[in-house]
C-alpha cells in the first residue's frame, strides 16, 4: 500500500479537527483522534487544539493550522467521525474512502438532523424535569411543556435569522418570563417561578459546562477557560432576559 503524502494527511487532519470542534467535542479527545488517524495512515502527527484553532504537524515537515469558531453542538457529527476513524484503525475501510467521507461531511457541514418539531417536543420534555424536584401538581407539567417548547422555538429561529451571539438567548429568556407571568395573571398557576425554572432548562449551556469541567480535570486549562467564560456569558444573558421581564412587569 502506498503511503498518503504528508500534504494530504495534514489537510485531512485539519478538516477532521475543524469538524470535531464545530460538533462540540472535548479538545483532548480531538487531539487523540487526530493522532490516531495519522498513526493508522502511517505518519507521525503532532496536534495541538485550542477552542478557536487547530495546529497540525506531520512528520516534522508539514505544519498547518485552521481557524474555527466557538459554539454549535452536533453530537451526530462526533459520532460519525468517531465511527469512521475507528473503522480506519481496524482497517475495514481504506484511506481513500475515509478521505472521501471526511471531504463530504466537510463540504456539507451537515449530518442527519432531527426535524424542528421533534427538537421542540424534546425541549418540552426537558422543561418538565425540574418540576419533579419541587413535587408540583400535574397540571404544572403541561404548562411547563408548552412554555418550554415556545421558548426553545423562539431561540431556534432567532439563531437562524442572525449570527449575533447571546442576543437570541436574551430575547427567549425574556419571552419565557413574560409568558409565565401572563399565566399567573390569568390565574392559571400560583407559582410562576417554577414554570420559569423549568422552561429555561433547554437553553442552559449544558454541553459547554460539561466539556469545560472535563477539560479542566484533564489539565487543558486554556480551552476549558474559554468554554467556561462562554457558558457563563450564555447563562447570564438568559438570566438578564428574565430579570428584565421581572423588573418590567
Amino acid at each position: 500500500m502506498r503511503k498518503t503524502s504528508t500534504q494530504r494527511v495534514s489537510e485531512l487532519c485539519l478538516k477532521t479537527g475543524y469538524l470535531l470542534i464545530s460538533g462540540g467535542a472535548e479538545s483532548y479527545r480531538i487531539e487523540d483522534t487526530i493522532e490516531r488517524i495519522g498513526k493508522s495512515l502511517g505518519h507521525v502527527v503532532h496536534c495541538y487544539v485550542t477552542v478557536t484553532a487547530v495546529f497540525v504537524e506531520v512528520d516534522g515537515q508539514n505544519s498547518k493550522f485552521i481557524k474555527s469558531t466557538l459554539g454549535g453542538t452536533n453530537l451526530q457529527m462526533i459520532d460519525d467521525i468517531n465511527t469512521l476513524s475507528r473503522k480506519l484503525a481496524e482497517k475495514t475501510i481504506n484511506p481513500k474512502v475515509f478521505t472521501e467521507e471526511i471531504e463530504k461531511i466537510y463540504q456539507d457541514k451537515h449530518t442527519t438532523d432531527f426535524p424542528f418539531y421533534m427538537k421542540a417536543i424534546g425541549a418540552g420534555f426537558v422543561s418538565m424535569a425540574p418540576m419533579l424536584l419541587f413535587t408540583m401538581p400535574l397540571y404544572y407539567f403541561i404548562y411547563c411543556f408548552i412554555v418550554g417548547t415556545i421558548g426553545y422555538g423562539v431561540s431556534y429561529y432567532l439563531a437562524k435569522l442572525s449570527n449575533m451571539p447571546y442576543a437570541d438567548l436574551f430575547i427567549s429568556g425574556f419571552i419565557i418570563a413574560l409568558l409565565s407571568i401572563l399565566l399567573s395573571h390569568f390565574g392559571l398557576v400560583d407559582q410562576y417561578h417554577n414554570i420559569i425554572i423549568g422552561a429555561i432548562m433547554p437553553l442552559v449551556p449544558g454541553v459547554a459546562i460539561t466539556n469545560a469541567i472535563r477539560e479542566l480535570v484533564m489539565r487543558h486549562a486554556l480551552s476549558s477557560a474559554v468554554k467556561l467564560l462562554d457558558a457563563l456569558l450564555v447563562a447570564s444573558s438568559i438570566g438578564f432576559g428574565i430579570a428584565t421581564a421581572l423588573i418590567l412587569f
Binding site: L75, M118, G124, Y152, N211, R214, V217
Partner: protein, 151 residues
Amino acid sequence: MIALLLNLVLSAASAIGFSLITNAPHRAAGIIGVTGGLSWTIFWVLKNWAHVNILFANFVGALTIGLLTYYLSRKFKLPENIIYIPCLVNLVPGGNAYRTILYMVQNKYIDSLEQAITTFLIASFLAVGLFSAQYLISLAKGVIYFRKIKR
C-alpha cells in the same frame, strides 16, 4: 411507588429530549434514556426518602452517570461525550441559579449570595462525582494490571 415510576419515566424522557436538541445519534437514544433515568431516580430516592444532604445526593447521581457511561460507551462503541451531556442536564441546579437572579432583582443581596454559593457548590459536587467515576475506573484498571504482572 407510583411516584418512583413517574420519576423514572419522566427523567428518561427529559434526557432523551435533550439528546434530540443536541442532535445525538439515533442509536444512542435508548442508552441515554436508561442512564438519565437511573441516575435521576437514585438522586431522587436519596434526597426524598433517605434525606441525605443534597450535595451528597448530587455526588452519587453524577458518580452513577460516570460509571454507567464508561460501561455503556465501551459496550456500544459510542463517544463518552454523547451519553454524559444529556444525562447531566437533569441534575443541573437550574432552580438555585434562577433564584440568584431573582433575589438580585428584588434587592435581596444576601439571599442572592446564598443561592449563588449553593449553585456553585452543587455544580462542583457534580464535577467531583464525574471525576471520581473516572478515577475509580483508572484505579481498578491499575489494580488489575499489577495483578497480571505478578503472576
